[in-house]
């Protein structure tokens, strides 16, 4: 909202930041996937007694983005194909 108001350049920079917008574009897919990715990495970390939880979460969220992005692209292409027909 703030970004759209055209009054705050900081808000505009934050809300139209490419990374944040990218996360927003894949937000639905990311929402459904991230919790499972965290649970699977938790299992791995416990199984192999690995230290450093930040690394575990970085891996989980990275894997979530890597899975969410192609799914989002695929669903967009399906939608546009439906609209064409």
């Amino acid at each position: 909202m703030a970004a759209e108001s055209g009054k705050s350049s900081l808000a505009r920079a934050v809300f139209t930041n490419h990374v944040i917008v990218f996360l927003g574009n894949i937000s639905f897919e990311l929402f459904l996937i991230h919790q499972l990715a965290i649970r699977y990495t938790e299992y791995l970390w416990q199984r192999f007694h690995l230290p450093c939880p930040p690394l575990q979460y970085a891996l989980a969220l990275g894997a979530s983005v890597a899975a969410a992005w192609p799914w989002q692209k695929w669903s967009v292409s399906i939608k546009s194909r439906r609209q064409e027909t």
């Binding site: 703030a2 108001s5 009054k7 809300f15 929402f31 919790q35």
Partner: protein
């Protein structure tokens, strides 16, 4: 698509991006401070509230221009959009529930009943944490979304009649007063987490609040194509949107800190 239009969509997507970031970080339970407290424990609830508000806002804006003529087709279209991934994530979550599913006796029956409720996307209606957070825990939100989508035609049609002109302010005040009173009244009740955070009729209030913001935008007759007029309308709403998110976030924090919720054996999955 011109720059103005792209920027408008980017701004909404940016808000969504923030919301999902808040939710994902809140689920990183192993990230703790020096005292052992979770670093991002409460931001997830505000992220969920932001998602719901934004959904209500956009639903009214979109369907004012393109009215929903066929409710069933509208609901089916939405389901077709999100059910495939929902189903895939449900399958991926099955290994975590294999003990109950392959067990014997009551536990097995409960496991299969939960699976059925998840497949039908009605788990949100059962006030038990072991049910609404079963399998892929975050999928309770999709179950809620089905209800909100089902209510959207009503909201788009009625919100305009209920909240004309100055009634918008009163409408928002009524919604937030109702939420606050509900939080106070239910704070000691059994299944308090469900009553305050999960229950679809309660969450409908958040969705309706988003719709009322959009109605106020519509009441001002501001064209989406006019950048200047749009900017003034959205600037006017900026404070309202963030203040409500903050208000709901505060309410969420209030009950999230309750012992009954904090001592739950299931990890928090907002």
């Amino acid at each position: 698509m011109n720059n103005t239009r792209t920027e408008k969509i980017d701004a909404f997507q940016g808000l969504r991006g923030f919301a999902i970031l808040m939710i994902a970080l809140s689920h990183c339970g192993g990230l703790t401070d020096e005292s052992g407290g979770k670093l991002f424990e409460y931001v997830g609830a505000a992220g969920v509230s932001l998602f719901i508000l934004l959904s209500g806002y956009l639903a009214v804006l979109r369907h004012t221009r393109r009215p929903i003529t066929d409710k069933k087709a509208y609901l089916f279209g939405k389901l077709r959009k999100f059910y495939p991934l929902y189903f895939v994530t449900l399958l991926i979550s099955l290994p975590f529930a294999w003990r109950s599913l392959l067990g014997v006796g009551t536990a097995a029956w409960k496991g299969w009943a939960n699976l059925l409720l998840n497949m039908l996307q009605v788990q949100t209606w059962v006030p038990k944490q072991s049910v609404y957070f079963s399998f892929n825990a975050v999928s309770w939100y999709l179950s809620l979304t089905v209800f909100l989508v089902w209510m959207t035609p009503w909201m788009v049609r009625r919100a305009a009649d209920l909240f004309r002109g100055r009634r918008v302010g009163w409408g928002l005040f009524a919604i937030f007063a109702a939420e606050f009173i509900w939080c106070v009244l239910m704070s000691g009740a059994p299944a308090v987490h469900w009553l305050l955070y999960i229950a679809p009729p309660v969450r409908l209030l958040d969705y309706l609040a988003g719709g009322v913001y959009a109605t106020s935008f519509r009441n001002r007759r501001i064209s989406l194509s006019g950048r200047g007029r749009m900017a003034s309308g959205l600037h006017w709403q900026r404070w309202h949107m963030w203040s409500s998110t903050d208000l709901i976030g505060r309410a969420c924090r209030r009950y999230a800190a309750m012992p009954a919720y904090g001592s739950s054996p299931t990890p928090c999955c907002s």
